[in-house]
């Protein structure tokens, strides 16, 4: 049964991806989902990003003070935010906020026969419901992550200048040193950015597909909708953390 579910999960993902390139495109649905997934998650993602950057700066300042290397706070905050914390934290927040919403919405459509209605009206529910959410998540997750990274590094700047007394110009110079230190892809794109943007892209896919998968397979009325949302948040969060590890290994192997 579990094996079958895994197979169905990947089957759903494959079909949803294939439909990205097939007419009709449901542009309206994509834009609406972009609003729900991206714009409405913005506040929470920025807030947590800012505090994460601040706490990173605070913790590293204590550690670095032991070696008299507090001027490198900017580098550490930047590396952590762009490579790990920005993508992972934003993804986990979005999994909780958006993944659960997707599962609840599609789940209640299932139990009120709206999915069957789509089918009987000759429309593939995967094309109409899953693909727009997938596209929206694939586009919006990297955008959210960039913004989260930026305010996070900004939060680090606040702590570095207020608590540690590092001038803002010096802080931002160390930030840039970090970004440039791991080299460039195609001469212009910092390798850190490539790593930091592949991750949210993948996580966005995980969130959308997981929410849709549990939503579509909802059974047992309104109670089932509750189960679907809970499962989505748990499974998506775990998947994000596990996939993050393996993805990091692959990316480090490719880009160093």
């Amino acid at each position: 049964m579990r094996v079958l579910a895994v197979q169905q999960y990947f089957g759903l993902a494959a079909k949803a991806i294939r439909f990205i390139f097939a007419r009709p495109f449901y542009i309206g649905d994509v834009i609406q989902q972009m609003d729900e997934i991206g714009v409405q998650s913005l506040g929470i993602v920025l807030l947590t990003g800012f505090f994460t950057g601040m706490v990173l700066a605070l913790q590293t300042s204590v550690q670095m003070a032991q070696f008299g290397a507090t001027m490198y706070i900017g580098r550490l905050v930047t590396a952590s935010m762009i490579r790990e914390l920005g993508p992972v934290l934003a993804a986990i927040l979005v999994a909780g906020r958006v993944g659960s919403g997707i599962a609840a919405q599609i789940g209640s459509m299932r139990v009120t026969e709206q999915i069957d209605a789509l089918n009987t009206l000759g429309v593939d529910p995967i094309k109409k419901l899953v693909t727009p959410r997938l596209v929206a998540a694939l586009v919006m997750m990297p955008v959210l992550t960039i913004l989260s990274d930026t305010v996070g590094i900004g939060g680090g700047n606040v702590i570095a200048s207020v608590y540690v007394g590092i001038p803002t110009t010096l802080y931002w110079r160390t930030v840039w040193e970090q970004v440039a230190s791991s080299g460039f892809v195609l001469h212009y794109i910092p390798t850190d950015f490539v790593q930091g943007l592949i991750k949210p892209f993948v996580f966005g896919g995980i969130i959308a597909i997981t929410g849709c998968f549990f939503g579509i397979n909802t059974k047992g009325g309104t109670e089932g909708v509750g189960h679907a949302t809970t499962r989505t948040v748990v499974v998506a969060s775990v998947l994000i953390l596990v996939v993050d590890y393996f993805l990091t290994q692959v990316l480090l192997f490719l880009f160093g």
């Binding site: 459509m109 709206q114 069957d116 209605a117 009987t120 009206l121 429309v123 593939d124 579509i216």
Partner: protein
């Protein structure tokens, strides 16, 4: 992605065995009395049904056909069920709750595939068509769901326009004209309801919008799942009249699943009674009231 069929909890004792039935049929006078009684009780509905049948002039050509269909999930749902709906006909599938009535509609729509037997739509066997082909075949049919199943994120207008936007090349003006026409057909005022969301509508209005959406693309076949369940008697009458109107004016073939035998008699050209996974009776409402079968008598007596 398939739904389990209705569960059978609380389904009372099934049809009497063959032997018992035969014994009963010797019981002439009692049954004749019962028949007269039923005739008296359903006289009006029967007359209305006959009229309907005469007026449409049902053709001989089968448009929906089930041939010896069997289906089981964890337990058997349908066994050797055969059913024909001819062009222009209204076939009512009656039976107690949980006898697999709605499953038959899902088979016709090819939301489910039978374990054995064949399902034909318009002469085409749809058992083994691919999912994509099934989507195309379904465009010949309009389905009205028990809970209406309107898309709750869309307005009434968008709901009714949905099949038109999906499968036709109509312009926006043509779509609006068609939506208005369909809403008027189901006795709703287009200007009042078009911009409303399904959550703002009453149960009877939702059903009517559901019918309007089902018929929007002018399908040849209309399928109804318990169209009158959960409605007050007055609204039940309205919906029943609407189904009859659809059949008379637009000559669509209808397959109606219901346990409401009163409205069944009013709209049916033929009734199939489902019990214990099998069709135990099939015939005109007339023949049904005249039937000597004990289960049929019980079913009608239980009204």
């Amino acid at each position: 992605m398939t739904d389990a069929p209705d569960d059978t909890k609380g389904a009372p004792a099934p049809a009497a065995s063959q032997e018992e039935r035969r014994r009963d049929s010797d019981d002439g006078p009692r049954l004749r009395r019962a028949e007269d009684e039923l005739r008296a009780r359903f006289g009006e509905e029967l007359r209305e049904g006959e009229e309907a049948q005469e007026r449409v002039g049902v053709s001989r050509e089968a448009i929906v056909e089930l041939q010896h269909v069997s289906l089981s999930f964890d337990r058997p749902i349908l066994e050797n069920v055969s059913l024909v709906a001819r062009r222009g006909e209204t076939v009512v599938i009656a039976g107690e709750s949980g006898t697999g009535k709605s499953t038959i509609l899902k088979l016709i729509l090819r939301l489910l595939q039978p374990d054995s037997g064949r399902v034909l739509i318009d002469g085409e066997v749809i058992n083994d068509v691919t999912y994509e082909e099934a989507l195309v075949i379904r465009q010949k049919m309009g389905m009205v769901f028990q809970g209406a199943a309107l898309f709750d994120s869309m307005s009434v207008f968008e709901n009714v326009a949905f099949p038109l936007r999906e499968h036709t090349q109509l312009s926006d003006e043509e779509i609006e004209a068609r939506v208005r026409e369909k809403l008027e057909f189901v006795d709703l005022e287009p200007d009042r309801v078009m911009e409303q969301l399904p959550a703002q509508l009453s149960g009877g209005m939702k059903k009517r919008v559901g019918i309007a959406r089902g018929m929007a693309a002018n399908p040849a076949i209309m399928l109804y799942d318990e169209p009158t369940s959960g409605l007050d008697p007055l609204t039940t009458g309205t919906i029943t009249r609407l189904i009859i109107k659809l059949q008379r004016e637009l000559k669509v073939t209808s397959v109606v699943v219901t346990h409401d035998i009163r409205s069944a008699f009013r709209m049916a050209t033929r009734i199939a009674l489902l019990a214990e996974r099998k069709i135990v009776f099939s015939g005109s409402p007339e023949e049904m009231t005249a039937s000597q079968d004990r289960y049929v008598q019980d079913f009608l007596g239980g009204v």
